[in-house]
């Protein structure tokens, strides 16, 4: 009942014309910065922060949050159309999204990304509204051993991302882990693999690697086959731009999976939306009946991660608003904004500022509807990019990649790295190494190493801490089960072969 009256109050705040306008401004800006690789929500919010000083805090929060979750909608656009991840959380979307575009299904891919984002985004807000305080307590029981095991589940998914050869996938994952270890070690202040370059002291940004390996690698390897003037088939008619009923049916589980995993991972301050999207992609593939088709353009492979990175937003606001603990760059700057407006985020924030909290929650329901209405009509428009002939499209992808990396890092060294990883991506394609395991190793490597070392420091060097804590033990067992999946399918394949041989 309390929730109901709170929500009614919230809608009264969010439906004020000025707040509706700020909400729209936020989600619109969010969509735009999501589409532009490199320019992310933290940078946008930081730039707009001085403008918000003269605004009513509820309106300002509604707008800034709109940028935050709106960017998750836009992030998929360049992933699908150009294989250039628009945001770090949209890297996984490249795997099946870009393949769908190559098969002429860019429209349905973009459409399902918007629909999955809407469903999971709304579920994320529901979660924020209903279970925020108890869930925040749960998040605190999560510490380094649990994070290690969670990331072990993620890393185990390398077996699901492998192509034809498991050895090649493992090698690629190892390279990813190696790149993740570069930079200054947090625990000892020792430089690792910096090759004497100060630019490498804080390691390599994984967005540079992802854009290099995915986008530049793709451009380079396709330049060899220049016979086609147009890369991708482009169907005519509006109907082909939207997902079919069958597509929606195929994604039923992906919507649920993305919503739940995204929200739960979002609540944990030490995980983040990139991990959420990888996990939900892995889960989707693990339970799918057409597991072997993933990576060739399966629509669930877009819906699950795009859903997860949207419900993650609702989850990430839980520790921020209930405890004053930010879990990511964007929530850290939202926290800074709240402090600058004179609020004191912490355990008493929601009870003492019901107008702001409920206004924000209500505006997020409204904002998600706005985003759906805003994004679906844009689909046919964006898909037109693929009508470009190859000689125009490839330079465009190249340009977007370069601008994206430079605007994020502001350094020429990062551009040199981009080229290096572009070449690496090209070679991996030539030699038939899958690139997803490399990115997975890179995303998880740093956090996993830290979590393991933190755990061992907590337990004074005993590995038993990883199995003596129940949540950690459950997740480690899950990781082992996932590692065994290919074995099961091998056994199944043998069984079928034996059966075939027995029946002459």
């Amino acid at each position: 009942m309390e929730i109901f009256s709170g929500l009614m109050h919230g809608f009264a705040v969010a439906l004020e014309p000025a707040n509706l306008m700020w909400c729209f401004a936020g989600v619109f800006l969010g969509t735009v910065v999501g589409i532009l690789p490199g320019l992310g929500p933290p940078a946008t919010i930081a730039m707009l922060l001085p403008l918000t000083f003269s605004m009513n805090p509820a309106s300002a929060m509604i707008m800034l949050a709109g940028i935050y979750y709106g960017a998750k909608y836009g992030g998929s656009t360049t992933s699908i159309l150009m294989n250039v991840p628009g945001e770090s959380a949209s890297v996984v979307t490249c795997l099946d999204g870009y393949q769908m575009a190559r098969k002429g299904r860019a429209g349905p891919a973009l459409g399902i990304a918007a629909i999955a984002s809407f469903i999971a985004g709304t579920v994320g807000v529901l979660g924020l509204m209903l279970v925020a305080p108890p869930l925040a307590k749960f998040a605190l029981s999560f510490s380094s051993p649990e994070y290690f095991s969670l990331m072990a589940v993620g890393l185990a998914m390398v077996v699901l991302l492998a192509g034809r050869s498991m050895v090649k996938a493992l090698l690629a994952a190892l390279v990813g882990l190696w790149i993740a270890s570069m930079g200054t070690d947090l625990f000892s202040a020792t430089s690792r693999f910096t090759f004497g370059r100060m630019e490498l002291l804080s390691g390599i940004d994984f967005v540079v690697v992802a854009i290099g390996v995915f986008a530049l690698g793709e451009v380079l390897s396709n330049m060899e086959t220049h016979e086609e003037a147009q890369l991708m088939p482009m169907p005519k008619g509006v109907r082909n731009f939207l997902p079919t009923l069958q597509d929606l049916k195929d994604c039923r589980f992906a919507f649920l999976n993305g919503s739940v995993i995204g929200f739960l991972v979002g609540v944990l301050p030490g995980a983040g939306s990139t991990i959420a999207s990888f996990l939900s992609y892995g889960v989707e593939k693990a339970v799918s009946r057409r597991r072997e088709e993933f990576g060739t353009g399966v629509i669930e492979g877009v819906a699950a991660p795009e859903g997860a990175n949207n419900s993650e937003t609702g989850g990430a606001l839980v520790p921020l608003l209930t405890l004053g603990i930010p879990g990511s760059g964007t929530t850290a700057i939202l926290l800074a904004a709240l402090v600058l407006w004179g609020f004191k985020p912490g355990p008493l924030f929601i009870p003492e500022n019901p107008t702001l909290f409920w206004g924000l929650v209500a505006s997020m329901y409204i904002g998600n509807v706005m985003l759906l209405i805003l994004n679906l009509p844009l689909v046919p428009l964006f898909a037109q990019v693929l009508r470009l002939p190859v000689y125009a499209l490839y330079p465009l992808i190249f340009g977007v990649a370069v601008v994206g990396v430079y605007s994020e890092s502001g350094s020429m060294f990062a551009l040199a790295l981009l080229l290096v990883f572009g070449l690496l991506g090209y070679l991996m394609r030539k030699l038939d190494y899958p690139s997803a395991p490399l990115i997975l190793g890179l995303v998880l490597g740093g956090g996993m190493e830290r979590a393991l070392r933190q755990s061992l420091m907590m337990s004074e060097g005993s590995l038993s801490i990883l199995v003596s804590r129940p949540i950690s033990a459950v997740m480690l067992s899950l990781a082992i089960v996932i590692l065994l999946i290919p074995l099961f399918s091998n056994i199944n394949a043998w069984r079928l072969r034996v059966l075939e041989q027995e029946e002459p």
């Binding site: 933290p42 940078a43 919010i45 930081a46 730039m47 922060l49 001085p50 000083f53 998040a139 605190l140 029981s141 999560f142 510490s143 380094s144 200054t184 947090l186 625990f187 000892s188 202040a189 020792t190 430089s191 910096t194 004497g196 370059r197 100060m198 630019e199 490498l200 002291l201 804080s202 940004d205 301050p269 030490g270 520790p319 405890l323 004053g324 603990i325 930010p326 879990g327 760059g329 964007t330 850290a332 700057i333 800074a336 402090v339 600058l340 004179g342 004191k344 985020p345 912490g346 355990p347 008493l348 924030f349 890092s409 502001g410 350094s411 830290r450 933190q454 420091m457 907590m458 004074e460």
Partner: protein, 324 residues
């Protein structure tokens, strides 16, 4: 938009008009303010807040444009400022962390001292906190417990070269107790580790601790400052708690590129002196529970030299390999 631009042009023209008669340097195009973090990092938030105050108080005829040069543990930003030799339109923000980063990484090419000190602005005090239901009521309780169980109590904090660990090193040296220091990259994770009961102690910014204390989930044992903070009149300083160790400041301030002309240096020193006297700045410091750490360029230069020597000694004591 267009009318905003027109207003801006008029404003610039009006403020620039007397400049023709004034002596010395005056920036004529937007000033580039270099910070070493991405948007949302400590220095980035500080720089943007200062840009807003400077704009509000009309201290500068042009805009301050924050430029983020993250990476290389702050070295990239410093190298970027160093490359702008003689450029009067560029300034940079530094923190004490940059001094330590230079001491421990051989890769670093530029130190804060290679740049021209302009002003020290902020001293960030810290407080030592435990979970509210922890058995320790005073810092001495914690130290005694650590002596009884050497290496079993834990503290969460940032990198091993951060101030959190420096405070621990100094306390350990002073008392002979020993406990474990666990690094977490994000501030949120450090607090979560303490509130979840996974570690026993942390050094935290007073403003961050405030709400957790009010909600009854955190308790303070001591404050890392010379005198008691207004917000915590009942919490003893380290010295009052019986631990006479140097108070290691977390400082933030402004530097200019090498080869800056005397006129432009004077201009920037004057600007930041004026800034620290505004009511908006005092409110900003109070809201964030920072201390006014203002020093001019000459004072800052002396401070940095002393601070570097102090840190070198502390890092060596902590067993961290220094390269200079």
């Amino acid at each position: 938009m267009r009318s905003a631009i027109r207003l801006f042009v008029i404003a610039v023209a009006v403020t620039l008009a007397p400049a023709a008669f004034a002596q010395g340097f005056r920036p004529a195009r937007p000033v580039e303010v270099v910070v070493h973090t991405g948007p949302g990092g400590g220095n980035d938030v500080l720089a943007r807040a200062i840009a807003a105050i400077v704009d509000k108080e009309k201290l500068l005829p042009v805009r301050m444009q924050v430029v983020n040069k993250p990476g290389g543990n702050g070295n990239l930003a410093m190298a970027y400022v160093a490359e702008k030799r003689g450029d009067s339109n560029t300034i940079g923000f530094f923190t004490a962390n940059m001094v330590t980063a230079y001491l421990v990484s051989a890769e670093a090419k530029v130190t804060v001292r290679d740049l021209v000190p302009v002003a020290r602005l902020v001293l960030e005090p810290a407080v030592i906190a435990v979970k509210a239901d922890a058995p320790f009521k005073t810092l001495a309780d914690f130290i005694d417990a650590a002596k009884l169980k050497p290496g079993q109590l834990k503290q969460s904090g940032g990198s091993i070269t951060s101030r959190d660990n420096v405070v621990r090193q100094l306390l350990q040296k002073n008392s002979g107790a020993r406990w474990v220091y666990i690094s977490f990259p994000g501030g949120g994770e450090r607090i979560a580790a303490l509130l979840g009961g996974h570690v026993d102690l942390m050094v935290i910014e007073p403003e961050e601790a405030g709400e957790h204390i009010r909600a009854g989930s955190m308790r303070l044992l001591a404050q890392v400052s010379e005198k008691r903070l207004p917000a915590y009149p009942n919490v003893p300083t380290l010295k009052e708690a019986g631990f006479d160790i140097p108070v290691v400041p977390q400082i933030r301030g402004v530097v200019a590129p090498p080869g800056t002309s005397r006129e432009s240096l004077e201009y920037w020193e004057d600007l930041f002196r004026k800034l620290t006297r505004t009511a908006s700045w005092k409110k900003y410091l109070a809201d964030n529970q920072f201390e006014d750490g203002y020093q001019n360029g000459a004072g800052l230069a002396k401070f940095l030299d002393e601070f570097t020597d102090q840190m070198r000694g502390i890092l060596k004591d902590a067993g961290i390999k220094t390269v200079r």
